[in-house]
Point group: C2
Chain length 329, copies 2
Amino acid sequence: MGHSQEEIRAAVEQALRALVHNEPPADLYAPIWYTLESGGKRIRPVLCLAIYDWFSVQLVDLAPVMPVALATEIFHNFTLLHDDVMDVSALRRGRMTVWKKWNANTAILSGDAMSILAYMQITRGPQEKLPALLERFNDGAMRVCKGQQWDMEFETAQHVTEEQYITMIVDKTAALLEMSVRLGACLGGASAECEETLTHFAREVGIAFQLQDDYLDVYGQTAEFGKECGDDIVTNKHTYLSVLVQKRASETQQERYNTYKKLGAERRSEKIEKVMQLYDELQVCTACEEAINAHLASAEGLLLECEQKLGRISPALRGVFASLGGRRF
Amino acid sequence: MGHSQEEIRAAVEQALRALVHNEPPADLYAPIWYTLESGGKRIRPVLCLAIYDWFSVQLVDLAPVMPVALATEIFHNFTLLHDDVMDVSALRRGRMTVWKKWNANTAILSGDAMSILAYMQITRGPQEKLPALLERFNDGAMRVCKGQQWDMEFETAQHVTEEQYITMIVDKTAALLEMSVRLGACLGGASAECEETLTHFAREVGIAFQLQDDYLDVYGQTAEFGKECGDDIVTNKHTYLSVLVQKRASETQQERYNTYKKLGAERRSEKIEKVMQLYDELQVCTACEEAINAHLASAEGLLLECEQKLGRISPALRGVFASLGGRRF
């Protein structure tokens, strides 16, 4: 038996706290610590370490590979920091975003420093694996940028197809989960075949995760979601729900949808209500739930496949999967 | 005899052009190619390769280490791209800056992708040297962020001392030159002692280079400088010249200086004229020239020291030094 999910998460938290230092300039580093201490589920480093742990035959010390896991969390938070500037989002995890608390320039520069900090951590990983680790890290990092670019281009696009939308979230959301899994597999010495299966697993989890996010913006509760509900509707953001509307709507329904989209933010409640009524007519809610379940089922199948190949399960990995909405085994 | 400065520069240009690809998303990559093709003297990669070449006993192929050299140029241009957003600069090398030509979000995101591209290049360097190369690269990269942070903090500072100012430019400008030199020394297998001497050389060159930049903003010609003269005076930017004023001014002169600083941009010519008169009274121009010459002389001494240790000169390195304002040997 390897480390439990809780043990791994606690080790990650401790290692993240140990990074904090008081070196000047204060305003370069303070936003980095502020962002890193704001919590979140630490999914990426836990995924990375759970897989490393799973492939290691004996009970392993997490310390030598911890920097690699931290790099995934730091890089993820860096992307959020810059995304919040680009999306002009004032709230993140129930707290003011960095650009809102400081200013946009501080957010840009501290973000840049944060991405370098991520690379500093990768560099502290096992030296003989550095080329392989960097290849995986660079690939994931660049894909996140691509995903964000697609997402920004969607802002001014009239029509976004389901395929385009999935391509975007695979880069924007799944890429870093895939990267975390690949880093863990590489550290643990997994076969290329197992790494590929687990990468596919992470992609399915990532898609499901993003669809859930879209779903919760409309059907979630403000408290559990951490931001106000219906924002995506009010801002006419393309989401999996809006993509489904455009796919399923009759000409008349499409015209109604276009009319609703023109309603300004001052008619917020009315706009949300009308769009949600259209969602109901087109059974968008059910279709989204079904898609989420299909991706989770696919992920589960891939995880089981890898468990069979390896001849042992990973309670930690199963735990992460369950916490992401997957079925508890 | 190794490669000439011109050979090295031509090889760098060719390698940079070979990076360009048409992969989507176009708006993520286009600003990167736009920035990289905008020229500049390619000082950092040429420095890196000239030093690598110098320490290699036989005539070496530059190709295997070229990615490392490109990383320095790409990272440098990334910092300019983000700096232009933060400083709201509309012009760079006589062309529109990225945020001006596209928009701020594109500049932020393409910059992020550009820094990852730099790391992708480093990763393509000699695999056995990767840990050492990354250590040098990370250190230089983080120091540039620190320098930019100090520079931004100076914007709202009443008083900046000479020491604070030099600390800032050592990080903001010299750090990447030091990094390029260190990478070249590492690639060429230089001794720790030689690497240190050359790092010091790069620092002196970097300081001289920034002081020249400050000097040229006031005493240069618009055509050769690539941007309008006197901008630093109009915007009350702390420069080496303004630092010297604060160091040398009597109480009355300080009061006059404070009054001039309050003149708005609509009284541009008057403001520049009055401040320049104060510069004349305090012999700031001469003092700045002397400081530049002192740093260049120190750099020259360090270069000669290394040449003596190594028992051979590097015409390419001497050429780069001369092109940066150093005496032609």
